[in-house]
Amino acid sequence: MSLTVKKLSFTYNPGLPTEAKALQNVSFNAEKGEILSIVGHTGSGKSTLAMHLNGLLVPQSGEVIVDGLKTDSEPNNLKKIRQCVGLVFQYPEQQIFAETVRDEISFGPYNWGKRGEALEERVFEAMDLIGLDNSFASANPFLLSGGEKRRVAIASVLASEPGYLVLDEPTAGLDFTGVCELTLLLRSMSEKGICVIHITHDLELALNISDRILIISEGTVTAYGTPSEISEMLSNINVKGLILPDILSLSYELKKTGSIENLTSDPYRLAEQIKAAKMRCR
């Protein structure tokens, strides 16, 4: 059971003056139970890729296969795929439409045929997962804080019990506490066996929370691997629009000059190594 993207390419408005190549020959694989971060600069194609994962866009060439089903096959499969791959858009709170949190979160499972108690159960389970207590059920989502709205929007996707959760820049605009809560949440989702595909432009965050990282630049994959593999790779390649975390880039330099052994983006580990290297003031 996994989500596989094979040689996916996509161009907006092909043949027109406004033509934009968004994805070129993108391939990767995401497994249940992992957090895969997709990292890239603005305009690198992240959102276009996200929309391919649940069949909102279908490949112009290449393929996307979810649990064995291709997104460009018969409509029946597409329906299954949509249910199985939950997509949380960028600024999802902007798409909130219902008058109560309960109605907002019910929308998905209702569409997939849940009614009565089963529906109610889904709603409360999703709220529980995302850390919204039951008292929120009758609240007006428009009056909640930014972080709370974001959680309602994510809960409404979780309510459909997706096996894959794709989140497009879920931490944008959240304060630190919000970011911490969200990353813990992503971790607990993945521990429950959900495959979390986390889209971000923040390499530092990705290095800290992911099992694997895919870096895309101008529509093509430039690096793919575990955080430590990625740290190694980035010392050799220059990815357009990608700023290396300060600590990591200093650790490259110090490693190159032979002062330290290991690359790291953790300030404590870098400091330890510098101390060990006995770079002392005289």
Binding site: P245, Y268, L270, A271, M279, R280
Partner: protein, 298 residues
């Protein structure tokens, strides 16, 4: 409930003014309180804050603590319900001075949609200078300079609606640059930018600051405030901490976490190295400076 914008004139309403600022504005709040008409809660509860001309202030605080409201007092979009607000000594409650105040104080809003007024990129940027009553050749120069500096010159003929969120934030900044205000208030103005654009956006702010502009920067990310002079933290409508930014950054990681902030990794590194006597305590939390000090040691 009525949005603030319905209660007050559009923020970008400037009248002709020859008092264009090239040097920084002083911003002063004295015992300022604020309460929205249809909200029982007092949002600001007695703020005393004096911001000197040319100072760079980082204004921090959790969501809902009153930061955006405070900024709106400074350009007379809102008036204090108690206490007062002075801009270069002018009380913001003098209606006749509102235009002058707005030419001195520009806000880049949290949501760029709130301040985009035209449908074509270059027209939007021209809006501010047009309202200042500038000559058309001067407007052209300013628009070009502003759009080049935010990297949108190539898109000057494009529809605003075709821009991404990050591009709209940069357009909002261009509109404000073109006015050349004496103070720039940034309300989470970089929240939608990726790290590369964030870096160039910060460089632009540094440039404005070094030309004397007063900066008030609201953000959640401490790695954006490393260049500020002073940090002010608002909690529940009151100032809960203020002091030099370097002192704020040397608060321990756990204590900052309790205050709701992530200590920037650079500040953590600096502190660890200072603690073990590798670099001097006077080193700023800046990777370039730490690098230099380390190189000197090798």
């Amino acid at each position: 409930m009525a949005p603030v914008s319905a209660m007050l004139p559009r923020w970008r309403l400037y009248s002709w003014s020859n008092n264009l600022m090239s040097s920084g504005t002083t911003l002063y709040l004295k015992g300022a309180e604020f309460q929205y008409p249809d909200n029982e809660k007092k949002v600001l509860k007695g703020i005393d804050l004096e911001i000197r001309a040319g100072e760079w202030i980082a204004l921090l605080g959790p969501n809902g603590s009153g930061k955006s409201t405070l900024l709106k007092l400074f350009n007379a979009l809102l008036l204090p319900s108690q206490g007062c607000c002075f801009i270069d000594g002018i009380n913001t409650n003098e209606t006749k001075s509102v235009a002058l105040i707005r030419s001195k104080v520009s806000i880049v809003f949290q949501n760029p949609e709130d301040q985009i007024v035209a449908s074509v990129v270059e027209e939007d940027t021209a809006f501010g200078p047009e309202n200042l009553g500038l000559r058309s050749d001067e407007i052209k120069i300013r628009v070009k300079e502003a759009l080049i500096s935010v990297g949108l010159w190539e898109k000057r003929k494009h529809a605003v609606s075709s821009l991404s969120g990050g591009q709209k934030q940069r357009l909002a900044l261009a509109g404000v640059f073109a006015i050349r205000p004496g103070s720039l208030l940034l309300d989470e103005a970089m929240s939608m930018l990726d790290p590369a654009s964030r870096k160039s956006f910060l460089d632009l702010i540094k440039r404005e600051h070094s030309s004397g502009c007063t900066i008030v920067q609201v953000t959640h990310r401490l790695d954006e405030i490393l260049n500020s002079d002073r940090t002010v933290v608002i909690t529940d409508g009151q100032i809960s901490w203020q002091g030099k930014t370097e002192n704020f950054l040397s608060i321990s990681e756990n204590e900052l976490k309790d205050m709701g902030f992530a200590k920037p990794p650079v500040a953590v590194l600096k502190e660890e190295l200072v603690k073990s006597g590798i670099i001097p305590g006077s080193t700023r939390s800046d990777i370039g400076e730490i690098r230099k000090k380390l190189c000197l040691l090798q």
